[in-house]
């Protein structure tokens, strides 16, 4: 039996759906991403309070200090001493002065008034209060000179 060769046109790939998806995903990422909480360390369990509301105006000059404990998967402390978490590095309170000095030098170099810089402290609920006070004192030492502080807490919803 003889078959006629069919005229097969080359398949055209319609890119429109893929472009739709890509654009939608990009838009979605841009909208939902919370860049302001990108520096928040999950190892820090913040205390809770009803009145801990996010600031109405975004702070222009601020830097975040995560201060908490190393815990195992069950939540038990693996080290009784709290640490400052800088990316993958853990720094004890006694050695954080150098970091604060570097931050202060950065703001002084770019000409920012130190009265405008806010030190945001994300301290664990179980940290000793005296250590937070010690940190604030360090921030105010000569050569550092931070004056404004914000203590972070999780907003407790009304039951």
């Amino acid at each position: 039996m003889k078959f006629k060769p069919a005229d097969v046109a080359p398949p055209e790939l319609d890119m429109t759906p893929m472009i739709d998806i890509v654009f939608q995903l990009i838009t979605f990422f841009m909208v939902i991403n919370k860049f302001d909480q990108a520096e928040a360390d999950e190892r820090v369990t913040l205390p809770k309070d009803q009145l801990a509301v996010p600031p109405a105006v975004q702070r222009k000059d601020s830097f975040l200090l995560n201060f908490g404990y190393l815990r195992d998967q069950k939540g038990n402390l693996t080290n009784p001493e709290p640490f400052f978490f800088f990316a993958d590095e853990q720094v004890p309170l006694a050695q954080v002065r150098q970091r604060l000095r570097q931050e202060a030098q950065f703001y002084q170099t770019i000409g920012t008034d130190m009265k405008e810089v806010v030190v945001e402290i994300r301290a664990d609920a179980d940290v000793k209060s005296g250590m937070v006070q010690e940190l604030i004192q360090m921030c105010q030492e000569d050569g550092i000179g931070f004056q404004r502080f914000a203590l972070k807490a999780t907003q407790k919803m009304i039951e």
Partner: protein
Amino acid sequence: MKLRNRVGLGKIQLDMTPMIDVVFQLMIFFMCTLKVTEPEGDFDISMPLGAAAPSAVTEAELPPFKVRMIADAEGNLNALSFNGVNLGGGEQAFAKLNSEVFRAIHALKAIGPDQQEKQEVEIDPDYNLHYRNIISAIGSCSGRMGPNGIPVRYISKIKFAPRREP
């Protein structure tokens, strides 16, 4: 002029496939990346340089409200006092503190309309007191949550007393 009959204007068929693609992709993405996080807020602490030492109080400015917090050996709140008045310990102490601060600022309004804004609170905790108690005390002094979910502010100037040794 004679126009030819236009041919080939059939019914437009709407291809739903791309839209379904998008919806499914977004749904899967939401399911995979959904991370339930509680919103974070903060409390401003006013600690200008050189203010750590107790300063002389002029007639124009009132002394700060003093909140003393005493810890037990485990770091829990053992006793809380407001301007020398003992309010007890535990969670109830913070509710009492909130009422006391409300009463105190009510009395301030009688002195002058802007006294409430000028008034400071000085928090004086034991070294080993758990930090969560500090946040509760600051929250109690800052105000209360109104019935419509809008905070009613009491005092916004909060500072720490000089640190106590461990």
